[in-house]
Structure formats: C-alpha cells, structure tokens
Symmetry: C2
Subunit: 301 residues, 2 copies
C-alpha cells in the first residue's frame, strides 16, 4: 500500500502524466503528443483529462508539474517558454487545482530531472548532486539533501548563462561566451556550419569526428573544454558529491565522458584531481516525471 504521487512532464513534443509510489517507483505512465501549436487552453484541458483518468485508479496526494522555463515556481506560473508558443504568464497550478482539488506545484523541468536523478537515479544515496543536461541548450539542477536549491528568485542552476569566456560568442538572450553558447548542441552545430560547412547540426559533427575529421574533433574538444571549465567552477563553488550529465549531446558516450573528466581534472586544485565523480544520467526520459512527483512529496513533508 502506501501513498501515491503524480508527476507531469510538460514537454514541447510530448506530454506525460505518471504515478509513483513513495519510493519513486513509476507505477503507470500515459503519454500523448503535446501539439504545442494547439495553445495552452487545449494542452491544459488534455492534461486534466489524463490526470482524471489516472486519479480514478490512484488516490494521489500531490501533483508536480515539470515545465520548461522561464517560470515562477513560487506562484505556479509558466511565463513564456520558447518551445510552448503562445503561453504567457499561465497560472497552471491554480487552473489544475481548481479542476481536480489536489495540491499542485510547478517545477522547472531541469530541476525536476535533477531531483529524479538525485533521489532515484545516478545520485541515489548521495549527500548532494549537480545535474547538467546538454542538449539544444544547457540546463541544470543542484540538489542538496534531496531538496532542489531554487534560489531567491528561482534562478538557481541557470548554468547555461554562466560566463565561461568573456566576449565569446552570443547565443539567444544570454551572456557573450556563456556555457550554452559554447557547449550546447546548438553551439556545436553552429561551429560545424562555420568551420565544416555542414547543416546537419551537432549530430553530423559527432559523426564526422568519429570518422577522424580533425576540424570536427577540435569543435567537440573545445565544447568539452568549456563544459569542463563550467564543471570545475561548480566544484570550487559547491563541491557536490556527484555530477550527473544527461541530454542528447552527452548521450552516455563513454569516450566523451573520458575526455570531459580529463579536462575537468586539469582545472582542479591538485588535492581534488581524480576525486570528482562525473556520471551519466540513468533515468532517461523518466527523470523529469519521477522528479516532479518527488517534488510533491518534498513539499508535503
């Protein structure tokens, strides 16, 4: 028996609603296409349908909604995520709570994945972990004693905007030389276009590097160098028990992790070399769902 908790992963492509037990085991998941262009009223209506279907079977204590940012976790408002067009200051927790009368909270999707991995993935049993996702962008979440550190204004772990190389390349609304502008899939793709004349993005750069293309290898090495500086700076700030890396760029590639670990070691105090643990994420697509459900448990306790 025990209690049940609901986690929701509101992505630009898929919308997933799941139920976990108190130990983070996923008992059931339902998934539908988000159809981002259908607008927030339609998306939330379909979300509520799924919630009701699952709460017919499971009496859940709380609902945690993981959403792309920017958002205000304290007031439960989704501001204007680039991959949810038309959303503007949507009070999603209020809307859902009114419909289903279950305590609902909102959490940044990277924070949710970080919490899932920390509690039931690669960080299980550790005092602290720093989750980094490297895909189109670079995001993260810092979890200390199974709690997300969101910060005073909810900007904790917005590490894509960390400055790695002052006056470096610009990317979106971020600082010049930001981590995201140097180490994301978008950044690798941009350099592929500039130096190799290809249009296939990061995937094509990785494929060319695998075939031994020196310019492609250099692009990846430079991206990993920027990521290594970011990680070393986090070590000298928080010294977390483990770094957990997910996202399409890292994609659990062994060689890439080896390269990254070596580069990180080069930027650490001597006493720390070889001691910083950098592991691939293990929960895959389910990290955010499980983490959002766990955020509900944390809130309740």
């Amino acid at each position: 028996m025990g209690n049940y908790y609901m986690g929701i992963d509101l992505g630009g492509t898929n919308l997933r609603v799941g139920v976990t037990d108190e130990q983070g085991h996923l008992l059931q998941v339902m998934q539908i296409p988000t159809i981002a262009t259908s607008g927030y009223t339609s998306i939330i209506a379909r979300m509520i349908d799924l919630i009701k279907e699952l709460t017919d079977t499971y009496k859940v204590e709380t609902i945690g909604i993981g959403s792309p940012g920017p958002l205000n976790p304290f007031d439960g408002i989704v501001m204007s995520p680039p991959n949810l067009p038309g959303w503007k200051d949507v009070p999603i927790t209020e809307i859902v709570q009114k419909e289903v009368s279950i305590p609902t909270l909102l959490i940044n999707d990277a924070d949710a994945a970080a919490l899932g991995e920390a509690m039931y993935g690669a960080g299980k049993g550790k005092q602290s972990s720093f989750y980094i996702t490297v895909s189109t962008g670079v995001g993260g979440g810092y979890v200390l004693q199974n709690k997300i550190v969101q910060g005073e204004h909810g900007y904790g772990a917005e590490i894509g905007n960390m400055i790695i190389k002052p006056n470096g390349p610009k990317h979106a609304n971020m600082n010049a030389g930001s981590l995201e502008a140097l180490a994301s899939g978008t950044a690798i793709g941009r350099e592929g276009k500039a130096r190799l004349g290809i249009e296939g993005g990061a995937k094509e750069v990785f494929a060319m590097a695998d075939e031994g293309n020196q310019a492609a290898i250099a692009i990846i090495s430079e991206a990993m160098d920027a990521l290594a500086i970011g990680i070393a700076n986090l070590v000298h700030t928080l010294d977390p028990s483990v770094f957990i890396l997910g996202g399409g760029v890292m994609n659990a590639q062994n060689e890439l992790f080896s390269l990254l670990r070596k580069k990180v070691d080069g930027y650490l105090y001597e006493g720390l070399r070889g001691k910083v643990v950098i592991k691939p994420a293990v929960l895959g697509d389910h990290a955010g769902l499980i983490g959002a459900a766990m955020a509900g448990i944390n809130e309740k306790n």
Copy 2:
C-alpha cells in the same frame, strides 16, 4: 541564562578566543599575537591557556576553531596554511579536546566568517547568503538555511580558484585567469606595479584612482569586472538571497559597491537586474569568531 559557546579565530597575526551565547552575542574576547614563527606547539599551548581561562568563567558546550586552509574539517586537521609556517597535518581538534574535554570542531576561516555574517550579520534572517572576502586572496562561504555548504571534499566556496578568464594571469597554485588572480588585492597590486610602476600594492592603486589617475581607475574597474563575472556566475548557480562582501579591498567603500552592482547587473538575465542584493559585511573582525562558535551550535543540534 542559557548555554555558552566558544569561538576561536586562529589568524596569521592574531589569535582570538571568545565566548558567545546561543544568540551569537559576543560576551568576552581575549586576544594575543599569534607569533606565527613560534611554531604550532607553542601556538596551540597558548590557545589552550586562553581556552582554560575563559572556561573557568563560562561552562561552554562546544568549541569551534576557525583556521586558514587548506584543512580537513571532517577530521579536524590543519594541513599547511601559507600563513602558518611549519604547520603540516596538525590534528588540532584532537589535541584541544584531549586537554579540555569539550567537543571541538575545525572550520575554514572564510566559512566561519560566512556563517557569522549569515546568522548575525548582513545576512541575518535570510534564507541563503554568499559571503565573499576580497583581500590578499579571494575566499568565500555559501550558507543555506544557517548551514555552511562545505561540499563532498571540503572545497565548497573555494571561489578564488574559479576561472573567470581562460588563459588569463596565473597566481599561486591556482588556475590561469582565476578570480583571485584577477580581483584580489594582490592582483590589483601586481597590475599597479606593471602599469604604474608603483610598489605600494592595492592601497596605492586606490589612492591614485582617488586622485583621478586613469590607469589606476582602469585597473580597479577591471578587477571589479572580474568580480562581477564571478558574482553573476554564482547568481546563475545558486541565486542566493544576499551577497555579503568583506575584506580589505572592498572595505565598505560605497563607490566601489556601486560600480560592482552596476557591472553585475550587466551580466544577469533581464528578469534579475536590480534584484540581486550585494551588501558590505558588518561584523568586521568578529565575524570569524562568532561564526566558529555558531558552527559548534549547528554541530550539536
């Protein structure tokens, strides 16, 4: 009535032993010159004399010793601080505990000052604070809900070694372009020597800037720019409720704080501009002593 706690500030110049109550009020302080060259046996013997003198009056619950690093807070060992010559892996808490039979712990001096300021200084009542001391070097301490985040290996808030400008100037055993190599008093003094041909260190650079010397003004502006990048990176990592800045370089200079705040704003997400709080430290010399005593309370609870 209530309980008493002892804090010790083991500095390269002065050795201070004090007693606080549970609310962090300093009840009595004794201070003697450390005479760093006299060696650790002599220094610890004199420290124990002061402890005994005070514990004759106050029955203290715990003793917290703040010491320069590197040190191992978990095992209570002072490794080899540059300004305590001859110290090498000294098990200071064990030595003190044997003599006085009171639970004793060791804490990094910057962490102690951070905890003192967080609990009873500029961060009082806040959820979280990041303390930064800018003097000969650059150190810090991150306090979340009145606890120091020391990290897995005790390297939390070793922010002097954060990389701000890859391939920038080298300083001591730190990364090229580290925060300490760019923003410390030592760094300002080094640039003063190189660009102005002066030997008087940071103090002389500040004096010349006050007189309108453009090169001196540029040196200070560049140091504050490096510090601003470091602070912005910490905002996008932890978003603490308040930054508390102490140390001889900042020295509560209003104009310098204004310049720094403006530069920090330039490196933040738009939604954060004007919202990040940067305040001068207020406890002065006593921050470390009070914080070391508070670390004892935290350990006990």
